[in-house]
């Protein structure tokens, strides 16, 4: 039972969810309210990780992070090493991979807020940003929570992308899903089962708590 791998996975999931909250909300707000005619392109790009096999995404990330790509070289020059095989690399990979799981529920929730409420707020002299904070966000709690939970759960269970760019370094990039896989590969089924059950229990408890807390919905 590798508690280290479990802790690493939880840490990754928490950090990625937090970053997606900060980054995903403005993107979702733009998608929900913009009327730019090429908006559909942005929506397609955001949704890509939903349909891309994780190994494909992982492969392109590996190449992008390598010293031969312009992005990789930039990072190398700034930090002295590439992004691959690091925890930060996993965070970046997971951000891209879980992006639609945060942005789409956020955007759907924002869109479903009655337009007249936004208009009313404007006529009362409240700026767009403050309208977002005081009207749109409170009325979108359910969607926001859903987005956060989905990002968390999705990152916790991530395998393909981590496999491609992680390098399986214990304590750094050996997440619990990689660990379970390793145990199975080494025919240690009992250990694998143990770890898997713990992961299942943690995920279930987290989701239950969030959905229980989120039972209230604004009516009218």
């Amino acid at each position: 039972m590798s508690w280290q791998a479990l802790a690493l996975s939880v840490k990754l999931a928490v950090i990625v969810s937090a970053v997606l909250f900060v980054v995903g909300m403005p993107i979702a707000y733009w998608i929900a309210s913009s009327r730019w005619r090429w908006k559909f392109l942005v929506e397609a790009v955001v949704a890509l990780p939903l349909v891309l096999p994780p190994t494909v995404l992982g492969f392109y990330l590996l190449v992008a992070m390598g010293p031969r790509s312009p992005l990789g070289r930039l990072w190398l020059r700034a930090f002295g090493h590439t992004l691959s095989f690091t925890f930060e690399g996993l965070v970046v990979a997971s951000l891209l991979y879980s992006l639609p799981f945060a942005v789409q529920p956020f955007a759907a929730a924002f869109r479903s807020v009655d337009r007249q409420l936004v208009n009313a707020s404007a006529t009362l002299g409240v700026s767009r940003l403050r309208t977002f904070a005081r009207v749109i966000v409170p009325l979108s709690y359910a969607g926001i929570i859903t987005g956060l939970v989905l990002s968390f759960a999705h990152t916790l269970g991530e395998f393909g992308v981590v496999l491609m760019v992680g390098g399986n370094i214990p304590g750094v990039t050996r997440t619990v899903s990689i660990d379970i896989y390793d145990q199975v590969q080494s025919l240690n089924y009992a250990v694998a089962n143990q770890t898997a059950l713990v992961l299942l229990a943690i995920s279930f408890i987290t989701l239950s708590v969030v959905y229980a807390v989120n039972r209230k919905v604004w009516v009218l």
Binding site: L62, G72, T82, G167, N168, I169, Q185
Partner: protein, 258 residues
Amino acid sequence: MKNVRLGSLFLLVLLLAKSAPAGEITVAAASDLTFALTEIAHGYEQKSGNRVKLAFGSSGNFFAQIQNGATFDVFFSADVEYPRKLAASGLAAAPTLWVYGTGRIVLWAPADSPLDLGKLGMKALLDPSVQKIAIANPAHAPYGRAAVAALQSFKLYDQVRDKLVLGENISQAAQFVASGNAQLGILALSLAVAPTLKGKGAYWEIPTDSYPPLEQAAVIPTAATDKSLARAFLDYVRTPEAQAILRQSGFQPPPEKP
């Protein structure tokens, strides 16, 4: 009248002969055999008219799958232990076990690496420019275990341990170092001489006395769907043409039977 009858009978026989179903087998093979076996299978298909479906991956994976009922017709492992375990547990026919060759590990650096492997040999691993070293996961890949054994016999393991990144299989290890994300890798010779990596980098053969021999064996699982066709394929692999391909691909010939 008689001629027409004979003629149509002849045509019928011809048609039937043409549409006789071609045999097909599914072969599971370790990733380091990717190029060698693809060529060999192609040659076999041309000669026999049968079809060979190839699946490449890690030997440990295939071992587990066969244990759980996978119906591969032949299993080419990257070691000899997995086939032995299968035979011992009755999941493969012991007489069919055949060591088809021994593998070698090499130190590999991409073409743009400043390191001169020929001069440095294993010492290259200690160069400060080397931040990451890719090997296959020793927990379940024979080539990974061999890499670790070699590092230990050169007394470098503890020093480079923190720089190791583990590939799912030998191919992924190759991908890590070929993409430049790892500066050096310990790969299979068969991969280093394969057309895709050849010319992309340089390799140095690690002395064979630093790691236990990588005997690689094939076996026919009992769950195979077409055992006679499987045997026929294995026989083809024993032929000189197939052996030549194996040798070219970095596999040493199987040890002589005493």
